[in-house]
């Protein structure tokens, strides 16, 4: 297990190098101009000389490999450079925003896993029943629905029409301090939408897993011995049905990240994902590269986690290495 983790860590190095270079290359090839993005409306009345000076100051007049190498060498020494769009060091941007993103993603994951498992077990108990049919078709619909569309729909319904929940932000406009109650009420909508957009996969995996388990011999034996349906369902069915879902947790991490990108933007949630969108549209090389490293690391960790969990849950599975 430790050996597997070590091997994966070694393997991560070339992946991260390639990914950061890729980000620089894509950003350089994009039609967006970092200088225009930096200057904003002031750039529309700035003189060409002033814009050229900005280009030199921001260091975006150098060739791509040089820029990437400079970024990499200083990043390895712990200096991630300055974000042009935020006008502050990249490390500060990440430190300020990371916590909010983790809170949002974790709440969403909890919602998706708990709801998905509960609904999955209930649906598997009576395949073809009304609950199974209803939830399954809803799940297939949700799989196809883009997260930002769900977000806008939720804002329209709960914030604009019913006025039950705040439409966005971290706290109310008038409040200066960040209190637990404020954050909690503002978290409900984005976390629920993000969770529900991830829910179908968990639901379908659990439903299938439990249904397969209920058709196995041990379950038939247990029922024959007169064990209660609840024990059969939760003790036998769910336990073996959970296996495929465990592997899913890790592999859904990339989906969760892209989902968070959209949800944070829609709900003006001050997290790291919302900053990624800004960094991308204004070609903020340093911030973009740092965030990509974070996202890649999260995906690699997710994969490792799902393999470890599977190995723990099912002794027959060997760890590679």
């Amino acid at each position: 297990m430790a050996r597997m983790t070590g091997r994966r860590a070694l393997f991560a190095v070339p992946v991260l190098l390639t990914v950061t270079f890729g980000v620089f290359a894509v950003a350089a090839a994009s039609p967006f101009d970092p200088v225009k993005a930096y200057a904003g409306t002031a750039g529309l009345t700035a003189s060409q000389e002033n814009l050229d000076q900005l280009r030199a100051n921001l260091g975006v007049d150098q060739p791509l490999p040089t820029r990437w190498w400079n970024w990499l060498t200083s990043a390895l020494q712990g200096d991630f450079g300055d974000s042009t769009v935020m006008r502050q060091p990249v490390a500060d941007v990440i430190a300020e925003r990371m916590g909010w993103s983790v809170l949002l993603a974790a709440s969403a994951f909890v919602i998706a896993i708990l709801l998905g498992t509960a609904l999955g077990v209930l649906a598997a108990r009576r395949p073809g029943g009304w609950l199974d049919r209803g939830v399954s078709s809803a799940a297939y619909t949700l799989e196809a629905a883009p997260a930002f569309w769900l977000g806008l729909l939720a804002i329209w319904l709960f914030a604009l029409k019913l006025d039950l929940l705040p439409a966005g932000g971290l706290t109310d406009a008038g409040s200066e301090t960040i209190t637990f109650g404020q954050v909690a009420s503002h978290l409900v909508l984005p976390a629920a939408v993000l969770g529900i957009s991830q829910l179908p996969w968990f639901f379908l995996y659990v439903r299938q897993g439990v249904m397969d388990a209920l058709a196995e011999d041990p379950v038939r034996g247990a029922r024959a011995r007169g064990l209660s349906e609840r024990t059969v369902l939760l003790g036998h069915g769910l336990r073996s049905g959970m296996l495929p879902m465990l592997t899913l947790i890790g592999s859904r991490v990339p989906e969760l990240i892209t989902g968070a990108l959209l949800i944070e933007t829609v709900f003006s949630w001050p997290g790291i994902a919302a900053a990624t969108v800004q960094a991308a549209t204004s070609v903020d090389f340093s911030l973009l590269a740092a965030l990509t490293v974070l996202a890649t690391a999260a995906v690699l960790l997710g994969n490792l986690l799902s393999d470890l969990l599977y190995g723990l849950a099912d002794p027959r599975v060997a760890f590679d290495g």
Binding site: T45, A46, R87, V110, L170, A173, G174, F180, A184, S268
Partner: protein
């Protein structure tokens, strides 16, 4: 990982989730905690744009009203210059090259440190420094040097006489003892500013809101509105909804949404006049758009009043140049009346003859050119479509296209663009960058590649001569030349509409620029607002 520990983890997670929802439920009207509930000394306003940085050294607040800072001078409601951190208007030398400011005594920054001449010198020198990433630096092009003479006097020397220079000195002054000790481009000062202004920034949650609290040390007296919040809400509909729900006390709104508040007894609607124009660039290098006859024909073929009525719901004015018709600098008699027959006559006389499809040609050139607008800007799209349909009636075929600036920029030299701009209040600010031939193709300046010797000379004369009468004469020349050979078709000046709670009493607005900075709106002087007694019916 046993089943038991999984169950335990699930239970713990469930408890957490439940406690979160319980906390959310225990505060049922938390979405209404903003405006009216929080006492009458707080105001929450909704704005559409957010500054990139709050550092004056990077260009924040360069047009005054920055809330956190003061300039040497400030603009009042009539856009007249008033002393702020200077104790009086500057002394200008006879040759117009030296401006001497006496500073106000006893002013302190919000951190308690004294303000002095060194801060002024530091601010201007830092902005003029090439290493500072300030995209508005060329607004100070005229400055040769700035020096302190003792603690209370600052002297600016100019490279050339520049009549509107004093207007530039509304830009905010930063404290040297803080901003001078860190990286000007990325230091903490850009997000945690310290100034001498009426408000102190307490929190800036990027993309969400800026929170201010009254500065008890403010030299102009502590503001009555103690807490002031600007919520950044990009979506117009969401902003209107939050204003209706009481979350906001005021907001900027498009005219059609502001109409929904017309019958609301507790809210007042303010229309701020502006220098904010929409224009069509007619590039000199385009065989059709650069033709003087075509330019003149388009100038009278376009129905500006209908644009104001239909596109702006009447919240605006026809524009005939960058100077609004109600400005003292506007040249009476240069209004163009909508006259399709006259437009056709101009084209006929110039040899543009209509073909079978009604589109004119001359020497084998078809009277057609593309007109670009920025994708997603509904207002510009509607202006562009209206313009194209008016042009078609005169026999000119304009194809309206949408693109991002990245797409438009390489095409600006030959294709028309639906552009916008406008900076009050000196006529030099817009006319110089729009019309000066040497600025053709310089960034986004003079996008029409306009080249007219008489205009060039008049613009130079206007910015260099000291007396108002001489300047007025120069800008009259410019505006009359634009009638003879318009390089742009100016369409409208757009009013900015704001809806604010009535309890703040009757408010005022300034004449506003194209940019919707933090300075715009009825809260341009929020530090002077007073909350009236409730139940006191006005009028």
């Amino acid at each position: 990982m046993t089943a038991r520990s999984i169950r335990g983890a699930a239970a713990a997670a469930l408890v957490t989730a439940l406690s979160l929802t319980a906390a959310a439920c225990s505060n049922p009207d938390s979405s209404k905690g903003g405006g009216s509930g929080a006492g009458s000394t707080s105001a929450v306003v909704g704005i559409a744009y957010e500054p990139d940085s709050l550092s004056p050294l990077l260009g924040y607040g360069k047009d005054g009203n920055s809330k956190i800072f003061d300039g040497l001078l400030a603009l009042d409601e009539e856009l007249k210059l008033q002393p702020a951190l200077a104790s009086a208007l500057p002394d200008v030398s006879a040759d117009g090259l030296t401006y001497t400011y006496r500073l106000r005594q006893g002013v302190k920054f919000s951190d308690g440190k004294a303000f002095g001449a060194k801060d002024v010198v530091f601010t201007y020198r830092t902005i003029l420094d090439e290493k500072t990433n300030n995209p508005s630096r060329n607004e100070l092009d005229a400055v040769k040097d700035v020096t302190a003479q003792g603690e209370d006097t600052v002297v600016f020397t100019l490279k050339y006489p520049y009549a509107p220079f004093a207007q530039r000195t509304v830009l905010p002054i930063a404290p040297e003892h803080i901003a001078g000790k860190q990286d000007v481009n990325t230091g903490a000062f850009t997000t945690k500013p310290v100034g001498t202004g009426p408000y102190v920034l307490t929190n800036w949650s990027k993309g969400e809101k800026l929170s201010f609290t009254a500065n008890p040390r403010y030299w102009g007296g502590e503001p009555e509105v103690k807490k002031f919040t600007m919520a950044v809400i990009k979506d117009d509909d969401v902003r209107a909804t939050r204003l209706r729900s009481g979350d906001l006390d005021g907001a900027i709104l498009p005219p059609n949404l502001a109409k929904g508040f017309a019958n609301d007894k507790n809210k007042k609607t303010y229309a701020a006049n502006s220098y904010d124009y929409r224009t069509v660039t007619l590039p000199t290098n385009n065989k059709v758009a650069g033709d003087t006859a075509v330019r003149r024909a388009l100038d009278v073929a376009v129905d500006r009043q209908t644009m104001v009525d239909a596109i702006l719901n009447g919240s605006g004015k026809p524009a005939y140049g960058p100077v609004p018709t109600d400005s003292e600098w506007f040249t009476k008699g240069t209004e163009r009346t909508h006259d399709l027959a006259a437009a056709k006559k101009i084209l006929d006389e110039a040899g543009w003859t209509p073909g079978k499809d009604g589109i004119r040609t001359k020497d084998g050139v078809r009277a057609a050119f593309p007109l670009w607008y920025v994708t997603g800007d509904k207002l510009r799209q509607e202006h562009a479509l209206a313009y194209a349909s008016d042009a078609k009636k005169a026999g000119i075929d304009i194809t309206v296209e949408a693109g991002t600036w990245e797409v438009i920029e390489p095409r600006m030299k030959h294709d028309a663009v639906l552009a916008g701009g406008g900076s009050p209040a000196d006529p030099d600010f817009d006319q110089y960058t729009l019309l000066k031939s040497s600025l053709a193709g310089d960034g986004f300046n003079n996008m029409a590649w306009y080249d007219n010797k008489a205009v060039d000379e008049a613009i130079e004369a206007g910015r260099r001569s000291g007396t108002k009468a001489e300047r007025k004469k120069a800008y009259d020349t410019v505006q009359r030349e634009l009638v003879k050979n318009p390089g742009y078709t100016f369409l409208t000046h757009i009013d900015h509409i704001y809806v604010v709670e009535d309890r703040f009493g009757p408010l005022t607005t300034q004449i506003e620029p194209h940019d919707h900075g933090l300075a715009s709106g009825p809260w341009w002087n929020v530090e002077k607002w007073s909350t009236k007694d409730t139940g006191d019916a006005k009028k």
